[in-house]
């Protein structure tokens, strides 16, 4: 549920290109010379990935087993960084909080955009306007969003408690209570990121043939039956992919707890990435931070593989 970039290109299976005829086509498709430009572009991308992604990842893995002070050569410390992590009581707390955030984000951040997309899809007019309205929060910088909601949550003159008081309801502590702090962060995250997911769902809904709905209406199907038997089956794969995206992204939640709560109150919003950040940039312990990063990487990798296997089998 972090930043998503929308790129609209068709997924339809490309038509088989007609074989070129002419002097350059000698009947040996894929000849190196024919694809030179393509290889050139590929090289640029590969170099970028190698320099800025793959090499740092490998260095990160090595660093997990080292102690560094950036002055003397790094020393190998075996599993010491991992042992230090497991001995830190906050390590388990951070994982528990992160999983809790992910669960709440699934309940809110996964369901709400789909419902909103279905509602907007039903509009006959001003669809574009509502698409824009839903997408607008995505355009706000994440830190600005977090600071804005911090004011909404202010237990004194904040927007939400003012509204609650206006209808004679008691105000809530929102971020100041460990029982509501995580939920408060999830609401921010959902609001800020639902625009992208809604647009994707809208695109998927737009691909469902209208005749199916017309036929079901003639057969007397209720709204729920139409959703259950037409909408969901036709958007199943989008839903499955979006769920995977969302889980992987929400497991890396950082901005909201960093800006809004600093991990508090009483560690109730310390997430894996926030703890990782502290190890790296507050305690300057890059070895332990890398070990934590590696564990997150492995956990998300294992989860993604399992998820894809399960969904492919069922598909």
């Amino acid at each position: 549920m972090t930043a998503t970039l929308i790129e609209t290109t068709s997924l339809r299976r490309p038509e088989k290109p007609a074989r070129r005829r002419g002097p350059r086509s000698s009947g040996r498709p894929g000849r190196f010379g024919d694809n030179l430009t393509g290889y050139g572009f590929l090289c640029a991308a590969l170099i970028c990935f190698a320099l800025f992604s793959w090499y740092p990842i490998i260095r990160g893995v090595l660093l997990s087993f080292q102690q560094v002070d950036f002055v003397n050569p790094a020393t190998w410390v075996g599993w010491a960084n991992f042992q230090k992590l497991f001995a830190d009581p906050l390590f388990a707390v951070a994982w528990r909080n992160t999983l809790y955030f992910t669960l709440l984000a699934l309940v809110f951040g996964f369901a709400i955009p789909f419902v909103v997309a279905m509602v907007i899809n039903e509009f006959r007019h001003a669809k574009g306007f509502f698409r824009l309205v839903v997408y607008l929060p995505v355009m706000l910088p994440p830190v600005v969003t977090a600071l804005l909601w911090k004011w909404f949550y202010d237990p004194g003159p904040g927007l939400f408690n003012t509204l609650l008081h206006a209808v004679n309801l008691p105000g809530l502590s929102w971020l100041d209570s460990s029982s509501t702090s995580m939920l408060s962060l999830v609401l921010v995250s959902t609001w800020a990121n639902m625009g992208s997911a809604t647009l994707i769902y809208l695109a998927a809904l737009g691909g469902i043939p209208g005749e199916l709905y017309e036929a079901s209406e003639l057969d007397g199907a209720t709204i729920w039956q139409r959703v259950r038997y037409i909408t969901i089956p036709h958007t199943r794969f989008v839903l499955l992919v979006m769920m995977l995206l969302q889980i992987v992204a929400t497991m890396q939640v950082f901005t909201e707890p960093y800006v809004m709560t600093g991990g508090g109150p009483e560690d109730s919003t310390v997430t894996v990435l926030l703890l990782l950040y502290r190890y790296a940039f507050v305690y300057n312990d890059f070895g332990t931070a890398s070990a934590m990063s590696l564990l997150l990487f492995l956990a998300l990798g294992a989860f993604s593989a399992l998820y894809l296997r399960l969904t492919r089998t069922r598909g």
Binding site: A3, V241, N284
Partner: protein, 481 residues
Amino acid sequence: MSNIPMVSVTTKPLPDAEEGQMNSFALRRGLGLLAAAGLGLGVLAGCTSANSAGGGTDAATDGPVTISINGQPPKTQPFDRKIFDEDVAEFQKTHPNIHLEPHEGFMDPKTFSAKLAGGQLEDVFYVYFTDPSTLIARHQAADITDYVKDVPHYNDIQQPLRDVFSDGKGHYYGLPTANYTMGLLYNRKLFTQAGLDPDKPPTTWPEVQADAKKIAALGNGIVGYADYSKSNQGGWHFTAEMYSQGGQIATKNGDKWESAVNTPQGRAVLDNLHQMRWTDNSMGQKQLLELADVQQKMGAGQLGMYLAAPDNVPTVVNQFHGSYADYGLAPMPGGQGTLIGGEGYMINPKASPAKIKAGLQWLQWKFLNPDRFETNLKRYKAQGQPVGLPVPPVADIWTGAVRDKEEQLKQQYATVPVSNYKSYMDGASRLKGNIEPPQAQEIYAALDNVMQGVLTRRDADPGALLAEADNKVKSILAQVK
């Protein structure tokens, strides 16, 4: 440098149920995301290539030498920038063999290691008092023990401040250039409105409680007393309050450090805060505050008191267009002690002896130079800057005759009401100054929880909070070498 693995997901509408294609798409997407997760590893690793120190002409002899220095104020602070640049020019004129390469910025823990690893760390770099112990333990600063004896007036600097840059075994790694002792910043206007005497600020914690209650009774969202509980600043203030009650956070027993968090003094700190927050309702509803939140409230005239260093006064006045006459500084309540903090400079561990010598000459000339007290004060006064606060250019770091001279000149050139800070200055020399504990940032992170617990939960158990924090501090101190 960012450590946030951003998940950039390219995604597209999925018009038809082309299952085989869909599954391979999902697989690619999953792998793509996995790679994005790996960026967390990547970004961290990107900071870690060991390299040599920053370039520049090096000279092992007394010939020309070029040193890079940071601490240059940003252009958004035109006066400070101008003063700094003028000083650089004058220093180079009077020291023709030393060429300075000034860099903007101060200490940023987030980029420090990356700069050191990448050879970008300045030869002379700025630090807060919380930094030296960690940097010394990690060998990230040069040993200057053999050089400091040649630094003029070094022995006139307060010993506890010099010791901030020591490893405790007789070796020194930096010079202090400014110092603060934590005190109580209060709004004189609100004191008057609440029927309190602004010339008699509270000196004990029960008096703080009573005054805060009266100020909060003014209503309109006015808060009597505010305290931090976030971003390690809660732990920092808890430490200061412990010192004010005569307690400690860590004590040294032989070669080992022991936690002193779970003590009657710690309990007194929490009981006091709990009373103000939940019984007196004098601390406001909004908690998880940090420095900027509290300064904003003080600048808006919505806050009576908070614990602060003197440099908060010009910040609050300048940012919120206030008046110096409206603010007063009192010594730390409690009378048992206070937290001392401050700033200074250390030298790149890869710097040559010539660079170390040149760096120390610059630091002494710019920051530790009693011969330039008067010149600096005149320049500040001529430019309409506040003079009279215990902050640079007349930092409170000296002892003996040098300190007396500085105080006399400060009063002579004062442009702000010095009487508003007199009780603070008297207290600063009377109260026992305690430096920050070892592994300060990690300990402060653990102590943030204690503050958060007592300020966000009415039913918080101070004993349980202290016991939990005590365990955490013990494990942090066990790592101190």
